[in-house]
């Protein structure tokens, strides 16, 4: 295995803070980074047992080959432990997949984040949070794996705010946006199994995503009740084009209510898909669609996503609380689609 590191070496003078040096080089997302020393980068590479020049992904729109060495450098800077590296590598493969279509979600004013949904045994091995405070801080794996991916986008692919990253607003998930599915407490098949992987495999699903939108229903003790509230919230978030995907994250109490009614993920998807169509009349009245009302606009409907299967249902979040969330995908189905990648542990 070739082991020569190709990255440019920087010598930090005595009296200079290496962390401040990294800021000055423009390598940071705004938070302090761990200085990527050779020993740290090699430990990261050792965790995936690949040569530094191994090509992890090729970003066609940027004509950039992302090597394992560059992924390792950014994983170090993000604060990853070496054992997180297989997940970071899989995530980079995901955003390099033509279906994810890097240029759109990486560049658009829409400011998409990359939602990473981790499935399989590696969640437990790495302590990826699947429960309380799911989208919040507190777990090193969740925070640093997503940060490493964003640093790769910034430092390797050139997606820097104001230049090749034109996000108007962005959202906090662009720092890190990693969740695990609570497979142990879920009554349903996990996402990766639904997407064709074996239960014992570990995977990461990458989805170009807006911020999470929490909804609340403490009244209902039926699947129809909880999901009617969710559908009402989801429907008005739809764009004219139709999103490529939505992620629906059902937390403990809602998960138990829905499963208690005998519903599986398939029924959840179908129910939501059928109740989230917008009429052309609504889209015109709310100035989402151009032009005056036309005859038949009340009956002419646009679904939120093309098919019920485009709604990714994930069981995750705290056990307590009548809250769940949905996450609109960025763009349209032609622009970007969620991709699931096996993690080579």
């Amino acid at each position: 295995m070739a082991s020569t590191l190709a990255s440019k070496r920087h010598h930090v003078e005595d009296g200079t803070d290496p962390i401040e040096f990294c800021f000055e080089q423009g390598w940071s997302d705004g938070l302090p980074v761990v200085p990527p020393t050779e020993a740290r980068v090699r430990a990261m590479l050792q965790a995936v047992r690949v040569a530094p020049d191994h090509q992890v992904a090729y970003i066609e729109h940027r004509a950039v080959a992302v090597t394992a060495e560059k992924v390792a450098v950014n994983a170090v800077m993000a604060g990853c432990r070496p054992e997180y590296m297989p997940v970071v590598v899989a995530a980079v493969k995901g955003i390099g997949d033509p279906r994810w279509n890097y240029h759109g979600p990486g560049t658009s004013t829409g400011g998409a984040g990359v939602l990473l949904i981790v499935n399989g045994p590696i969640r437990r091995t790495l302590d990826v949070n699947c429960g309380d405070n799911l989208f919040g801080p507190g777990w090193r794996a969740n925070l640093t794996i997503g940060r490493a991916l964003r640093l790769v986008m910034r430092n390797v692919c050139g997606s820097r705010p104001g230049t090749l990253d034109r996000g108007t607003l962005g959202h906090p998930g662009r720092l890190s946006y990693v969740i695990g599915e609570n497979e142990e407490e879920s009554p349903w098949p996990p996402l990766h199994v639904e997407r064709g992987f074996r239960p014992e495999q570990s995977t990461v699903t990458v989805m170009a995503a807006e911020g999470p939108r929490q909804f609340y229903n403490q009244l209902s003790n039926t699947p129809e009740g909880v999901l009617t509230t969710l559908a009402d919230d989801m429907r008005i978030s739809g764009s004219v084009m139709g999103q490529p995907n939505y992620a629906v994250v059902l937390a403990g109490e809602h998960m138990r209510t829905i499963a208690g009614g005998g519903w599986g993920k398939k029924e959840v998807r179908q129910f939501l898909w059928e109740r989230t169509h917008n009429s052309h009349a609504h889209l015109r009245r709310t100035h989402r669609m151009a032009g005056a009302l036309q005859p038949g606009d009340e009956e002419r409907l646009r679904p939120l996503v093309e098919s019920p299967d485009d709604i990714l249902v994930v069981a995750a979040g705290g056990r307590a609380g009548t809250f769940s969330a949905y996450i609109p995908g960025w763009g349209s189905k032609r622009s970007s689609q969620a991709v699931t990648v096996a993690i080579d542990a």
């Binding site: 004013t109 829409g110 400011g111 705010p161 104001g162 034109r166 996000g167 108007t168 607003l169 959202h171």
Partner: protein, 77 residues
């Protein structure tokens, strides 16, 4: 600009009842009392902030239930 002149900390009537009465005269005008639920007690509770880069995108951020926003002066050293 009206909002700027009023200031974001001037919430108008402070008691819940007074503010609901104010609401009845504005957002719910023309509808029977109790027919609607507003997303905030008064228009002044919507804080308008101009920020972000170029592009046809904006955002809204709902607050959590039992809390009020607080503005604090930053003391320069």
């Amino acid at each position: 600009m009206e909002l700027e002149a009023r200031g974001v900390n001037d919430h108008g009537p402070t008691s819940g009842e007074a503010r609901l009465a104010a609401l009845a005269g504005t957002a719910a005008a023309g509808r029977p009392p109790g027919d609607t639920v507003a997303i905030a007690l008064a228009p002044e509770d919507l804080m308008v902030v101009v920020a972000g880069g170029p592009g046809k995108h904006s955002a809204f951020v709902p607050t959590f239930g039992a809390t009020r926003s607080v503005t604090v002066r930053v003391e320069a050293p």
